[in-house]
């Protein structure tokens, strides 16, 4: 229903608000007298039934008069009537006048008969829907008259995954992964070295008890590893010994080119120092004697 024809459009305005039985907003007077009707169309249908004829042979003129009389009576009883019912009354009064005057050909305006037919159609349609709803509700209904399986057997669902991948997927995954690693994992193999600091510590520790000239290699012996590490140990200890000599901690002696490097601690024993001092005094005295 895309378009509403003119005549029904006029009726469109005649809707009454549907009232819930216990609605607080419901007019109590209306509730008593008209509450049983679901709007003016329902009232009209009820009145139409009182004509006791097939709705297709209904006298709309008579129906309009019945309706107007009903409303008149209600007003005499000083009942407040909802606006929709009054609007319908006004419209029916108009319809009545159109039906009573001879047909006029005045352009597009629907004739009284056409308006009446539209009203009759609406009443028939409402009636038909009422009957249909009754037929529907009288059917054997599931859960009331007929019953479904009380204890349905549960279908267990076994989910199975189907994995998908293409050869290209693996090849590109492999190539990009290997490539990524070959670039980012350029690692320098960690060289084993003896740091200068470590060499100093070793020399300090070892030279404490060494008073005689001793070849450097002997200190290194327990530390000397193989290959590259050995070179590192030699270089670091030699550098460290030079530093320690500068600081006066050790003394270094090399008797010939490429000869063994000899080390000894520069810190003497106390008796040695006393001896030296005695020796020095002795020399001083000897010079004085001279």
């Amino acid at each position: 229903m895309d378009h509403v024809t003119e005549d029904t459009a006029e009726l469109d305005g005649l809707r009454a608000e549907e009232r819930e039985p216990n609605s607080a907003s419901g007019d109590p007077l209306l509730h008593v007298d008209l509450g049983g009707y679901e709007g003016p169309l329902d009232l009209l249908l009820t009145l139409a039934r009182s004509q006791k004829v097939d709705l297709t042979r209904l006298s709309i003129l008579q129906l309009a008069e019945q309706y107007l009389a009903f409303v008149q009576q209600a007003r005499q009883m000083r009942l407040e009537i909802a606006a929709d019912y009054l609007v319908m009354a006004a419209w029916l009064a108009y319809l009545k006048s159109r039906l009573l005057v001879p047909k006029q050909k005045d352009g597009d305006e629907p004739t009284g008969e056409e308006l009446a037919a539209a009203l009759a159609f609406r009443l028939q349609r409402l009636e038909a829907m009422r009957e249909a709803s009754q037929k529907l509700i009288d059917r054997n209904r599931l859960g009331r008259d007929i019953f479904a399986r009380g204890a349905p057997e549960v279908v267990s669902i076994e989910r199975k995954s189907r994995w998908t991948a293409s050869l290209y997927d693996i090849l590109s995954a492999y190539a990009s992964q290997r490539q990524r690693r070959s670039v980012t994992s350029v690692q320098f193999k960690k060289r084993d070295v003896l740091s200068l600091q470590e060499a100093r510590e070793i020399l300090n520790r070892l030279l404490g008890g060494v008073w005689d000239w001793t070849p450097l290699e002997r200190f290194l012996l327990p530390y000397m590893g193989e290959g590259n590490y050995r070179n590192s140990v030699v270089a670091s200890t030699f550098s460290a010994s030079l530093e320690l000599a500068r600081e006066g901690v050790v003394e270094i002696q090399q008797t010939s080119t490429f000869g063994p490097i000899l080390l000894r601690s520069a810190r003497r024993r106390d008796d040695e120092i006393v001896e030296e001092q005695v020796e020095a005094q002795r020399k001083e005295l000897a010079q004085e004697e001279l």
């Binding site: 229903m1 895309d2 509403v4 024809t5 005549d7 029904t8 009726l11 469109d12 005649l14 809707r15 009454a16 608000e17 549907e18 819930e20 679901e38 709007g39 003016p40 169309l41 329902d42 037919a117 539209a118 159609f121 609406r122 028939q124 349609r125 409402l126 038909a128 829907m129 009422r130 009957e131 249909a132 709803s133 009754q134 037929k135 529907l136 509700i137 059917r139 054997n140 209904r141 599931l142 859960g143 009331r144 008259d145 007929i146 019953f147 479904a148 399986r149 009380g150 349905p152 057997e153 279908v155």
Partner: protein
């Protein structure tokens, strides 16, 4: 083996196969809480639709006189207790809310006139429809929002669900009681003068030409649902 013996053997193999399909369908339908469509039966049994249809017809006949019947509801098949035994079933009845007259009328109008907007329902009933009435119908699971009518205001269209057919024991929407008479009398037309095409209720999941789909994130929808 003669020709006729061979033919007999083939026939007996076919019989055995047909019986097995019947057993499978019996089991599937008996176990299910919901009606099953032929395509679901095809999928779950592995048999083809023709054989299944034959089995369904045979089973329907077999069960016709029994306490449980095979019925066709909402385009699907289901076992249901026989109608005449409803008196026994009082203990199984789940208390159902009685629908008000307004709700019943509205349900009938939606069923016969679907897809139908709220304004059209009101036009037929001559009163405005309260929010509660449509809410109750939606709650029953028998009525659903279908889409939006392609007219100004894009009103929501309503229609019935497969549960509606199931509940009222209707095979398809064409089985609505009195449908043909109403169509013949032109009472499914929206207005006078009757249009030339005779409207017919349509509860298919596909939208009609003048319907747009409902958007789940359509702000208007929420608004309308709340406002109604």
């Amino acid at each position: 083996m003669t020709m006729s013996e061979a033919a007999e053997e083939i026939a007996s193999i076919q019989d055995a196969r047909q019986r097995q399909v019947e057993r499978i369908i019996e089991a599937l339908l008996f176990a299910a809480a919901e009606p099953l469509s032929v395509s679901e039966l095809v999928r779950r049994s592995g048999a083809d639709a023709l054989i299944i249809q034959k089995a369904l017809d045979h089973l329907r006949t077999q069960y016709q006189t029994r306490g449980v019947n095979l019925v066709f509801v909402s385009d699907r098949w289901a076992f249901r207790t026989a109608e005449d035994l409803s008196f026994l079933m009082s203990e199984n009845v789940v208390e159902q809310k009685r629908l008000s007259r307004a709700a019943l009328e509205t349900l009938a109008i939606i069923a016969f006139h679907q897809p139908v907007t709220r304004a059209e329902v009101e036009e037929i009933r001559g009163v405005s429809t309260s929010k509660g009435t449509l809410d109750v119908l939606m709650e029953t699971g028998w009525v659903r929002m279908r889409g939006r009518r392609r007219t100004p205001g894009r009103p929501v269209t309503y229609g019935t669900t497969p549960e509606f057919l199931d509940h009222f024991g209707l095979g398809t929407i064409k089985d609505l009681p009195g449908l043909e008479e109403l169509k013949g009398a032109g009472l499914l037309d929206s207005a006078i003068p009757a249009s030339f095409s005779i409207p017919s209720p349509d509860d298919s999941l596909d939208l009609t030409e003048d319907e747009d789909p409902l958007d789940s994130d359509d702000p208007l929808l929420d608004e309308e649902v709340q406002a109604e």
